[in-house]
Amino acid sequence: MSSPPPTLDGILHRQDVWRGRRHQGMPHTGVDSGYALLNAELLHGGWPRGTLIEICQKPFQGDWQLFLPALRVHNQGVIALLNPPAQPFSQAFIQANIDLERLLVINAPDNADFLHCFSEMARSDDCAAMLAWQPRKGLSYSNLRKCLLAATLSNAIHALFRPWAAQRESSPAALRISTKYIDNELEFFIFKQKGILRSRQPQPVRLPLPECWQAAQPYCALDHSDIARNQSAGASALNLKAGT
């Protein structure tokens, strides 16, 4: 017994059908990133669910800044951190109103273990987001493809952090971004977004960093005599600064 032939409407409602520039009719299933500038650039008005987001960056350059607002708003489900490059500092996440009970750290330095963990966590309905850092040995195209296939099984955010140089490599990820710090801003650049036909060269977008991260005052504006008078304990630190 043969299955009924697919209808045009049915095909057009599939998320994996590319419709050129006409993506207005597609369901907006993105998770609000917390940045209007970023949402405007993303196809679904936010971080796409159920697919692989690849972020190429130097270590620690804006990983949490990109995803913390979205994770704070969607406050249900586990946030799995696969192979994090250091320990997520509990005090910072308490300050950011992230429930620590949701944060789950998994260390899988071996490639096979990494892929296994990625697939297992992606299959779990309780995993709201997975932030993964690729193992030291790197991931091949087929490995990335496995991650993508696993990610499509769920409705969560799956972000894979890769080194800056990985931009030059081919990847099946639906969304590829590079990020870096520029003074007091985080610059992100979307160099691949599946489902959008670019008519022009994409432009980098800059997001402001938290105010408390920014330098209190340019050094040249400081009154040297006041500092010397008021800060005896921190004198050596400021001497070092003066050396700059």
């Binding site: 509990s90 300050q95 520029i182 304990a233």
Partner: protein
């Protein structure tokens, strides 16, 4: 002396327990004495025939006739009593242990009034119990009474069970016993003898005429309470039976053990899988039937050459079904080669807990997420832990300390996170990433270098702590590197060196 209670107690006194538990292969004709604290506390018939008695000095006992002296093993005696209690559970669930501090007299007390119909009367029940114990090699003396201590005392007398014993009959039998049977109260017995009391009947008559108060006054309330319990004397309350403690019910510890033997030795996990599944299904049925859960099972692989390999499977959350344990077993064996060709496979489960069905929010549409880790996620995490090891998965928590490295804790999946920050930390500058150990920053020509040149951007925040041991004083700064990386660094105010401790990511 009256009571509305209709209990019937059977006391089983194990006369040779101190010797029985030692399981020495000594022939019965060899004189043996068990000693404790340099005193003979038990001797067999052969030793008694040579003149060895309780309370004798061990040296004297040895010279009495080549008597073998063995030290007493109280822990073995207790273990034997526990084992016997489990075995006698088949006759009655109401079983208590009796262990004396003053004399090597131990045994069991069985409340049998609720089991008489099942075993067709007292005689049949007593016969069945005594036959069971005799078959197990125990030398038992028994006593029947309406109270537990009364039954124990009557085990020193010899009355055949008739089946038509009455309460008054038990009291009469107790009255005939000498006061020395109250050996647990040696001081009181000496006083009673000096006062001219020779039998418990003398004591009972005194209680009838003057009440228990006179005994409580002269010999202490503890002894008076013991007498009241022996005779089931109601006092203090007009209806004491209404306030009496219920008879305790023994629940035996049940272990699961099941095994399969193979016709041909098996060397591949794939061949063992059906056996794993079969045994785990049996375990699942066992747990389900008894409303139990378990968190730990053991697989024992063995062959005909007496090789044995035990593999432990643990689960974070209690399991009542077999499926997850099966998955965990396969994952464990996938990472562990079989050391020899297996002839027999045994599943052991000593860990068991009562199943507790927790209440949950009624959610017919499945719209609400239940708090805590769901069963499915727990299963996933357990699979990952089995593959990667326990240390590979953890949560993070705050710990009360001023020092950043001590205020951050990695905790297990089953532990609860502490999320209450003290007020000083609420708005303090804290990085999102913390290094496991602070790394020293190079200092050249008054400039800081750590994988690039650093520039201080904000701070300092001074943290001082541990003044009670090695004092710690640090000034923390936010620093920028050449590549715009934002770091959390500090200067140790004691050695004036700089360290990087975190990153703002």
């Amino acid at each position: 002396m009256s009571s509305a209670r209709n209990h019937l107690w059977l006391a089983l006194r194990l006369r040779e327990l101190p010797l029985h538990v030692l399981k020495t292969d000594i022939p019965p004709e060899r004189p043996v004495a068990v000693t404790e604290r340099r005193v003979v506390i038990f001797c067999n018939a052969a030793a008694r025939a040579l003149g060895v008695t309780r309370g004798m000095d061990p040296t004297t006992a040895r010279f009495a006739g080549d008597c073998l002296l063995v030290p007493r093993k109280r822990n073995l005696e207790s273990a034997a009593l526990y084992q016997l209690r489990d075995q006698l559970y088949r006759f009655t669930p109401h079983i208590a242990l009796h262990e004396s501090k003053e004399a090597p007299q131990s045994g069991l007390l069985l409340e049998i009034s609720t089991c008489l119909r099942l075993f067709s009367g007292v005689r049949n029940l007593c016969d069945a119990i005594l036959k069971y114990l005799a078959d197990a090699g125990h030398d038992v003396r028994w006593g029947l009474a309406h109270t537990a201590p009364g039954a124990w005392l009557l085990s020193f007398a010899h009355h055949a069970p008739s089946g038509d014993e009455t309460r008054q009959m038990f009291i009469d039998r107790l009255n005939a016993l000498p006061v020395q049977v109250l050996y647990d109260h040696p001081g009181a017995v000496d006083t009673l003898v000096k006062m001219g009391f020779t039998t418990l009947g003398d004591v009972a008559r005194q209680i009838t005429s003057s009440g228990l108060t006179s005994f409580a006054r002269r010999l202490g309330p503890q002894f008076a309470n013991a007498l009241a319990e022996i005779y089931a004397i109601e006092r203090d309350f007009s209806q004491r039976s209404l306030f009496s403690a219920p008879v305790s019910t023994h629940v035996p510890v049940i272990h699961f053990e099941d095994s399969l033997s193979f016709d041909t030795p098996l060397a591949l996990i794939e061949h063992l899988q059906p056996a794993f599944e079969h045994l785990l299904q049996n375990l699942g049925a066992f747990l389900d039937k008894r409303q139990l859960t378990c968190q730990h099972i053991q697989w024992q692989l063995s062959d005909i050459y007496q090789h044995k390999e035990i593999v432990d499977i643990r689960s974070d959350i209690p399991q009542s079904g077999w499926q997850l344990l099966y998955d965990l077993t396969l994952i464990t064996f996938a990472n562990r080669p079989i050391p020899f060709e297996v002839d027999a496979l045994t599943l052991l489960c000593h860990d068991r807990q009562p199943r507790q069905d927790s209440s949950a929010t009624l959610d017919l549409n499945g719209e609400h997420r239940q708090p805590g880790v769901s069963r499915e996620l727990a299963a996933t995490l357990m699979k990952l832990k089995t593959r990667l090891g326990d240390a590979a998965l953890h949560k993070i928590s705050y710990r009360d300390s001023l020092l950043p490295e001590l205020s951050h804790a990695m905790i297990g999946m089953g532990e609860k996170c502490i999320q209450q920050l003290p007020r000083p930390h609420h708005k303090a500058l804290r990085p999102t990433w913390l290094l496991p150990e602070p790394e020293e920053i190079a200092e050249r020509n008054g400039r800081l270098y750590w994988q690039g040149r650093l520039t201080l951007a904000a701070g300092p925040e001074r943290l001082t702590s541990h003044w009670w041991e090695t004092s710690v004083a640090r000034d923390y700064y936010l620093a920028r590197r050449q590549d715009k990386q934002i770091l959390w660094i500090f200067q140790d105010l004691h050695d004036e060196r700089w360290y990087v401790q975190g990153f703002f990511g």
